[in-house]
């Protein structure tokens, strides 16, 4: 078991889940409540990583982070090195790759909040921000838990985007998925099995927790 890869993957997944929790909420809010007629285009862009092959997504992210892109040039002038094949680049790539896994559960749970509750909040003088913080967020708790957990678990297991954007640098971009691939390539099936089993157990535990937390019978308040 390569613990360096394991802890690097955990660090990556925690960072990505945290950023997506903050970034995904306003995006999901906009997707849910905006009446912009071209909103479907934005929805399609957000959902794209679900259907796009990770290598395709990884390739374009690599180009976008490289020294020829404005972002890459700006980052290079700022830090002295490019974003490609760095941990920071890996974080950006993973955020884009896992974006729909956070935004879609968030948006679905926002949409499930009764519109009349929002209307009642408005007639009681509450601003949109207060309505969001005091009504929509607490009533969307199961969707928030799902979105954060899925983005964490999805980042834990990503392979194609990591390989394209980060490569395979031990301690920098080598995640457990890459480690498993390396071990299989070297015919180290026992080592690959140990790491793969760990990933399987973690993913299963996270999903079990999500389903358990979303059980209505354990909800903080009973819904009718």
């Amino acid at each position: 078991m390569d613990w360096q890869s394991f802890w690097l993957t955990i660090r990556l997944a925690v960072l990505v889940a945290t950023v997506l929790a903050l970034l995904g909420l306003p995006i999901a809010y906009w997707i849910t409540y905006s009446r912009w007629r071209w909103k479907f285009i934005a929805e399609a862009v957000v959902a794209l990583p679900i259907v796009l092959p990770p290598t395709v997504l990884g390739f374009y992210i690599l180009i976008a982070l490289g020294p020829r892109s404005p972002l890459g040039r700006w980052w290079q002038s700022f830090t002295g090195h490019t974003l490609a094949f760095t941990f920071e680049g890996l974080v950006i790539g993973s955020i884009i790759y896992s974006l729909p896994f956070a935004v879609q559960p968030f948006a679905a749970s926002f949409a499930a909040v009764d519109q009349r509750l929002l209307a009642a909040s408005a007639t009681l003088g509450a601003s949109k921000l207060r309505t969001f913080l005091e009504l929509i967020l607490p009533l969307s708790l199961p969707g928030l838990v799902t979105g954060i957990a899925l983005s964490f678990a999805h980042t834990m297991g990503e392979f194609g985007v990591v390989l394209m954007v980060g490569g395979n640098i031990p301690g920098v971009t080598r995640t457990v998925s890459i480690d498993i691939y390396d071990k299989v390539q070297a015919f180290d099936y026992a080592g690959a099995n140990a790491t793969a089993l760990m990933l399987l157990v973690i993913s299963f535990t996270i999903l079990s927790l999500v389903y358990a937390l979303n059980r209505k019978v354990w909800a903080v308040w009973p819904f009718k």
Partner: protein, 227 residues
């Protein structure tokens, strides 16, 4: 198909000592679907006191209330609450629901399910100092006989109690007009009568226009005989 509706009929008005118009509205709201269009034209003058508005389902009663509350925007017209202009299509005035001072009790009450009775009632007066907030919520909960339920969630109280909490939540903000969208429809006559008595008692000292809409003529007659 193009349907044009007349405003619903005012069955009874219980006028306050001052009969001057407290709420006046002349609004046109249009709905367009694939199969038909529907135009609602409303011309109403509502004095302080209780006004009952009835009509069949789909006639646009809730839409009238939503227009008054600012939850939907009419195509044209005007809406005045005493001297305040809440909506004027020509002048482009459309005051937000947050700033209209309208109390609205929805048909399904729309109590916040995750908040206690007390927090539901205090939701609309959050900007007041804590002591005043406590005092006002205590008073209104006592007026509607639900003070002992304040720590419970809406799902933990009866239907009649929920109606009382919804009324208390709308009235604690000291609204300039109260809109009731069939909130008492599901209650039996005895409970309804008690709640109406409490509402009348409250309005004796406040004298605001209260607009009650219902789709049932029988139920309206029943209410009207009480009110």
């Amino acid at each position: 198909m193009n349907v044009e509706t007349k405003p619903d009929v005012i069955v009874e008005e219980e006028r306050a000592s001052s009969v001057r118009c407290a709420l006046s509205l002349q609004l046109r709201k249009r709905f367009q679907t694939r199969d038909c269009s529907f135009e609602l034209n409303v011309d109403l003058e509502i004095p302080a006191g209780i006004t009952i508005l009835f009509g069949p389902s789909g006639a646009g009663k809730t839409t009238i209330l939503d227009c008054i509350a600012g939850l939907t925007t009419p195509e044209s017209g005007m809406l005045n609450l005493k001297e305040r202009v809440l909506f004027n299509g020509e002048k482009g005035i459309d005051v937000s629901p947050q700033n209209r001072r309208v109390g609205y009790v929805f048909q399904d009450l729309a109590l916040f399910p995750h908040l206690s009775v007390k927090k539901n009632v205090q939701y609309g007066i959050a900007s007041l100092p804590a002591s005043e907030r406590e005092e006002r919520s205590r008073q209104i909960l006592e007026s509607f006989h639900v003070a002992e339920l304040q720590q419970r969630k809406p799902s933990e109280i009866s239907g009649g109690e929920r109606q009382r909490v919804a009324l208390a939540r709308a009235l604690v903000t000291d609204p300039a007009v109260l809109l009731l969208d069939e909130p008492l429809a599901a209650l039996d006559a005895a409970i309804k009568s008690k709640i109406v008595d409490d509402l009348r008692a409250w309005n004796e000292s406040h004298q605001i226009p209260i607009l009650y809409v219902t789709h049932s003529l029988g139920r309206t007659r029943h209410c009207a005989s009480e009110w």
